[in-house]
Symmetry: C2
Subunit: 358 residues, 2 copies
């Protein structure tokens, strides 16, 4: 088990050694650690190696000139200049909040970025300013459109955070596929089959074999099959792609640059880097602050009073499971599996920093 | 078969006779007919009787004072004053577009409204102004939160329309449940069973019986079961509820007023009427107009070039199936099933207007 501070300092040091200013490295570490705390290790320490290798391959700019390239009072297009995704995204969300301060809401579409970690982090940045936050991103193409076998879309997550009063905030953060890519990878490593509706083979036949992705198979959008509204998952995923990439001028759909160095850059580029979309809305754009929070509390109480199904302990509000994990993990420490700790040690040695496998 | 004009004029006359100004009645008819053309008769002629009965029960205000009650440069809260939903919604979307004209984007949350027909209509209003349109609404509570058996949420649809250049616009319009309420009702009338993942019984056991809703059962959110991301559908549905009702001060979740007169008004109200949410973003908030449209065309070409699965003719862009239906229905005429035509005839007789069953 590692403490939060130990992994935070390590991550910050790694990014500093790769050339990031200290402040940027700290911001990046904060997002990596947020993934670990919220029980999403697929977006945590495991990705440090990916970032290190992208940097080695000169596919990351650790001294970027992140700037607004087009704007209106409530919107901005931000060019991340090839930055670490967490840096481009944090700055973009800050701009969205600055816009919201002035005109009620702020909306930013970002290009020239890279993998930004967990979507929920940026949405939650809005909470401390009494704002509603939103965040979306495109990602490596693995998911097929409805009725297709081509890998066109990422698992394109959507996150929404809404402040409440006496209760913790509402935080929805979910991929627009039935299952996260990371969970498929785990099943594959264990040699386990998965439920139908997650993946299909190269001809579009249903499959329960997670390794089918290596044989031309693809992931399916939320819904899983046409009878269960897979075309709705396709709508959600494409909406994220358009807002993140067509709005900003990033590489949409199948052109999204890989977030790992062992995959080559796509030969064709239709824009610049990976794209994200961010939104911020002041709660007092809608109702006086205290009224908004009181009504949100009443909303939470109403949903929490829903009757649990047989065998379910209690009905949860979006964000509640992750918050409980966060409390537990902060208390008990962060587990890093041996193979990933080994990768971290190797990176530490190469960069000349300390890392002790625990 | 009825012509578009015949049903349009009939619908307009009905709403005029109920007291709507001619312009409002025409706007309402336009939304009703849009549902028929887009192949969604569950939101078309069948609902005229519901509206007529709500008016008889004095639960609709046909001379409303629709007004902005709170605003910022990019947002407004609109009070529909008990209006026909189509009128409150059309005016709200106009306000969103006026805001977008001035500051790039405009966002409106509406309370004191009623059932507004198809979500996609309002999103598509933005297209003629070279804007991206969004629309959401809450609805009668039939859907259970993840892990619950209580009917808390409506089928809460989300619609997004994005203009393109030489191709027709991208139009996503979908309920946040695997299947529409109307399709369940059809299966029930035919005595047919449905797939698992649509409904559950009063204890939360999976069910394939659409009539289970009459025995304390509930509909399930998009995803259908936990293994297929039903908690993500729960997130989507609650997001719609919060944006439409907490933002505006409408009746959220289980407090949504029924859109039919045979169900009594809920005894407890936590706000005013039904709630909606609308968004408009100028495409030139993001990119110069021609560049935006050219990139959206490239986006459409890319997705249309996806390889179809075995047995699928071609991959479709969201909105394409409905547009094809619209062309066909405009050409061939609108079919109205005898029972509904009979209802329309009765309403015509009561209001003293013409209607010939065809």
């Amino acid at each position: 088990m590692y403490t939060y501070d130990y992994l935070f300092n390590f991550t910050q040091e790694v990014f500093e050694k790769m050339g990031c200013p200290a402040e940027d490295a700290a911001k990046t570490a904060k997002v990596f650690l947020a993934a670990e705390l919220r029980g999403l290790p697929s977006h945590g320490m495991i990705r440090i190696k990916d970032y290190y290798q992208l940097w080695e391959a000169q596919r990351i700019n650790t001294r970027p000139n992140i700037r607004i390239v087009h704007e209106t009072p409530s919107t901005a297009v931000v060019d991340g200049d090839g930055a670490v995704g967490m840096i481009a995204a944090t700055r973009s969300m800050e701009i969205a909040m600055e816009k919201a301060e002035k005109c009620g809401t702020g909306w930013v579409s970002t290009r020239g970025s890279n993998h930004y970690g967990i979507a929920g982090y940026y949405a939650m940045m809005a909470l401390e300013k009494d704002m509603i936050g939103m965040s979306m991103t495109n990602a490596n193409p693995l998911v097929a459109p409805a009725g297709s076998v081509s890998r066109m879309m990422g698992t394109n997550p959507i996150a929404v955070a809404v402040p409440a009063g006496k209760y913790p905030a509402y935080v929805a953060d979910f991929a627009t596929t039935p299952i996260a890519r990371g969970k498929l990878a785990v099943a594959e490593k264990k040699g386990e089959m998965v439920a139908e509706g997650y993946v299909q083979d190269k001809d579009g036949n249903p499959s329960t074999d997670p390794s089918i992705l290596k044989e031309g198979g693809s992931m399916l959008p939320l819904g899983g099959d046409m009878a269960h509204g897979l075309h709705k998952g396709y709508c959600l995923s494409t909406m994220v792609d358009i807002f993140s990439c067509v709005f900003s001028g990033a590489n949409f759909g199948p052109f999204c640059p890989p977030s790992v160095a062992f995959l080559p850059m796509p030969k064709v580029q239709v824009g610049s880097g990976t794209g994200h979309f961010f939104g911020a809305m002041r709660i007092d754009s809608w109702q006086p602050k205290e009224e908004f929070k009181a009504q949100m509390d009443k909303w939470i109480e109403t949903y929490k009073s829903a009757q649990p199904a047989k065998g379910v302990e209690r009905v949860m509000i979006p964000g509640e499971p992750e918050r409980e994990k966060e409390e537990r993990i902060l208390r008990d420490g962060i587990a890093v599996i041996p193979a990933i700790a080994q990768d971290m040690k190797e990176i530490a040695d190469k960069l000349g920093i300390e890392f002790t496998i625990q």
